[in-house]
């Protein structure tokens, strides 16, 4: 298959998705969770089906007007949980008072109402999270670049890490477009993809390394042919390894609770993006870099 000559089309598709993500971020904003914005997240178990308007009016009675209420539920069709997101209170007493008021005014209509989770994240903690997230991604990428440079050569390292950035960019773009909430597990998801999606690329590079050695002795294979040959030869294992991993993570997404879904969906996106970039972009990009380098040294 002509992977090398189709590289530009593959890149165009990715560029379009990333562009769509940027537009979505500008137009409708990014759905950051309390981990990133700071604030208080209160989850109520209503004990049965409920009307979000009731919760909103209970909040207004307690003097809170800028909170958002969404329905949620871990068990399939029954959505018995109300997730209330609001600004963090000035002090503990105010918060306790407000919480009690909300419960009191709701308990008339919903007898079994109870608080299941309270998450309170300060502004300091959320600012720190963003800093350490960026730091994590940069350091992991740098270390991987160095490792591949040592084991292969510099151009392979650069190509592999550029592809990682591509996978992460696609992950972020689609997560924004799909309006999935971004919380701290998203960082773990990104790092997982950084560590994992490179595996397929390495299998292909490993094959290029092997075919390259072979080629030098027998017949001089051009990089473009070498790349296409290596991708084709490893195609079935690239697809099958991705399928086995997708099977487990999709099962988690389908059966998991909300916080697991929030975490597994970005991983699914990243896995697909990683497989796509490994097959259609990584090795052709390496070929492009190598040819440029050769032309430069001549």
């Amino acid at each position: 298959m002509k992977f090398s000559s189709n590289f530009k089309y593959a890149s165009l598709l990715s560029a379009l998705i990333i562009l769509a993500g940027i537009i979505a971020a500008i137009v409708s904003g990014v759905n950051f969770g309390v981990d990133f914005t700071g604030g208080t997240l209160l989850t109520l178990d209503m004990g049965g089906d409920f009307d979000t308007a009731d919760v909103s009016s209970a909040l207004e009675t307690a003097g809170i007007n800028d909170a958002s209420v969404i329905k949620s539920g871990s068990t399939g069709s029954s959505q018995n949980q109300a997730v209330i997101r609001m600004k963090t209170f000035a002090d503990d007493e105010t918060e306790n008072r407000v919480r009690q008021q909300i419960i009191d005014s709701l308990s008339d209509k919903y007898e079994e109402v109870e608080i299941t989770t309270v998450d309170r994240v300060g502004a300091v903690a959320s600012a720190d999270l963003i800093r350490s997230a960026v730091l994590c991604i940069v350091i992991a990428s740098a270390l991987i670049l160095i490792y591949i440079w040592i084991r292969f050569e510099l151009m392979s390292g650069i190509a592999a890490v550029v592809m990682l950035m591509h996978d992460v960019a696609i992950m972020i773009s689609l997560t924004i477009i799909l309006r999935v909430q971004i919380n701290s597990p998203f960082i773990a998801a990104v790092l997982t993809i950084i560590g994992y999606s490179i595996n397929n690329t390495i299998v292909i590079f490993d094959r290029i390394r092997e075919n390259g050695k072979f080629g030098q002795k027998k017949h001089q294979v051009l990089t473009e042919e070498l790349v296409d040959m290596s991708i084709t030869e490893t195609l079935s294992r690239t697809i099958n390894t991705s399928i086995t991993t997708l099977i487990t993570i999709v099962t988690l997404y389908v059966l998991g609770v909300d916080s697991i879904k929030e975490f597994s969906l970005p991983i699914i996106i990243g896995l697909v993006a990683g497989t796509y970039s490994s097959i259609f972009m990584a090795a052709p990009f390496w070929g492009l870099l190598s040819r440029k380098k050769k032309a430069g040294t001549k």
Binding site: D45, S74, D92, E95, N96, E114, I115, T116, T117, V118, D119, R120, V121, G122, V124, A125, S132, L135, C136, A140, L143, I144, Y147, I148, R151, S184, P185, I187, A188, L191, T192, G195, Y196, I198, N199, I202, V203, D206, R207, E210, T234, S236, N240, T241, I243, T244, T245, I247, T248, I249, T251, L252, L255, G256, V257, S259, I260, F263, S264, I267
Partner: protein, 423 residues
């Protein structure tokens, strides 16, 4: 005995052992006086599964030259206060250079009704000062020994204490001086006067009490705060999370179900595509799962959380990746005209570098998460790391041995390679 029979016996032994270990891990066993607990019960669960409260505190003054020393003192104070409240399973850990994280798991015997109550109790300075009539301090909480709770004559709860020698002398001197006058002694808690009283008789034995309209609980808390010592520096609460126990239970059972279904599907996929080789991969996968659970139960400091379970389930998918790479390689070797035995040897040898390199990159990412992450993220990184190492071992060592046994029993290449090969 010929090679074939030997291999069959070996294989049966391995499968029986695997089943036995699996049974042990799930149910445990009691032989005579020796009891082996089920492995699953030895795995520590994180807060998001058990339910509980976690809070992060930050030092107010980050330029403090003795920050580390003071933080350690703060952690010791937290520890004592948590223990005296009965939260012995709670953990106190330092995070970064200026933060302390506490995690309080809850269960049937330990309930946290209001997370704010416990967190504000923990962080309170609890500086008790007795002052004389002019407002000068006479002695403090640190001079008190044998701090306890009692009921005074009027039926009120009070905190009782015995003073050390120096403070007792001061107390005796001033109380003798004040008897019969209208001079008063005041008790301050965190710079707020909680009670003021005239002296009815000189206190020479160094025994005293703190009154301040306490109920049983608040008197007890103040007593334990005094016992645990004054907080050396001010700490600000920057994050509090609490999760109810029922929510955690749901999350756990859902994820376990997802894990089982995921494993079964992956196993079916491997057999459907790689036939006998798939069976080899599946036995290796079962071994891998046992290995991971064993590691989770025994490696110190490992906690399993929701993202952690996701990490394990994800690693199941990754665990067979190495086998896929090896089996595809063997197929190529067979197509190239080599005997199945040689193809297997070559397959493992030649696929090794790709498997090794790809595992190292995943380890790099997990290690970075482990180093920079906190709380649940750290637990995800740990389980992922355990998963990668276990899968590398099971895919490279275990499945290689198993495949050799299988080939000894039957070496027809069509049984081991997916369709589409010329062989």
């Amino acid at each position: 005995m010929d090679k074939r029979k030997k291999s069959i016996i070996w294989l049966v032994v391995i499968v029986v052992l695997l089943c036995a270990f699996g049974y042990l891990a799930l149910n445990g066993i009691t032989i005579g006086r020796v009891t082996v607990k089920p492995l699953a019960s030895a795995i520590k669960q994180g807060l998001d599964l058990t339910g509980g409260v976690s809070a992060v505190y930050e030092a107010e003054d980050k330029s403090d030259p003795n920050l580390q020393q003071n933080l350690e003192a703060v952690m010791a104070v937290f520890r004592t206060r948590l223990d005296s409240e009965g939260y012995t399973e709670a953990t106190v850990t330092q995070q970064g250079t200026d933060r302390v994280r506490i995690e309080i798991p809850i269960n049937e015997s330990q309930q946290v009704d209001d997370p704010n109550e416990i967190t504000s109790y923990l962080v309170a300075t609890a500086k008790v000062v007795f002052t004389d009539n002019d407002g000068n301090p006479m002695f403090e909480g640190k001079d008190m020994e044998d701090v306890g709770v009692a009921v005074d004559e009027s039926g009120q709860y009070v905190v009782t204490f015995a003073l050390n020698e120096v403070a007792a002398e001061t107390f005796a001197k001033i109380t003798s001086e004040y008897v019969g006058t209208n001079k008063t002694i005041s008790i301050k808690l965190d710079d707020e006067v909680i009670s003021t009283a005239q002296v009815s008789s000189a206190i020479t034995n160094g025994q005293g009490q703190i009154t301040g309209g306490f109920d049983y609980e608040s008197a007890n808390r103040l007593a334990s705060q005094i016992r645990s010592g004054v907080m050396p520096i001010n700490m600000t609460e920057i994050e509090v999370r609490s999760i109810s126990a029922t929510l955690g239970e749901d999350a756990l059972s859902n994820s376990i179900l997802a894990g089982i279904i995921g494993v079964v599907l992956v196993m079916a996929f491997m057999i459907a595509v790689y036939k006998m080789s798939g069976v080899v991969a599946d036995i290796a996968l079962a071994f891998y799962i046992l290995l991971v659970f064993f590691a989770l139960a025994t490696v110190p400091g490992v906690q399993i959380t929701l993202p952690g379970i996701a990490g394990i389930v994800l690693a199941v998918g990754m665990a067979v990746d190495a086998n896929v790479i090896i089996f595809e390689r063997i197929r190529e070797e067979v197509i190239a005209g080599r005997s199945l035995r040689t193809a297997c040897d070559n397959g493992f040898k030649r696929a090794f570098s790709a498997i090794f390199d790809s595992n190292i990159t995943t380890i790099i990412a997990a290690a970075v998460l482990l180093y920079f992450g906190a709380g649940t993220i750290q637990s995800f990184a740990t389980t992922l790391l355990i998963g990668i190492i276990a899968s590398f071992f099971s895919a490279v060592v275990i499945s290689r041995g198993l495949l050799k046994l299988f080939v000894n029993i039957n070496d027809n290449p069509t049984l081991y390679c997916r369709r589409g090969g010329k062989a």
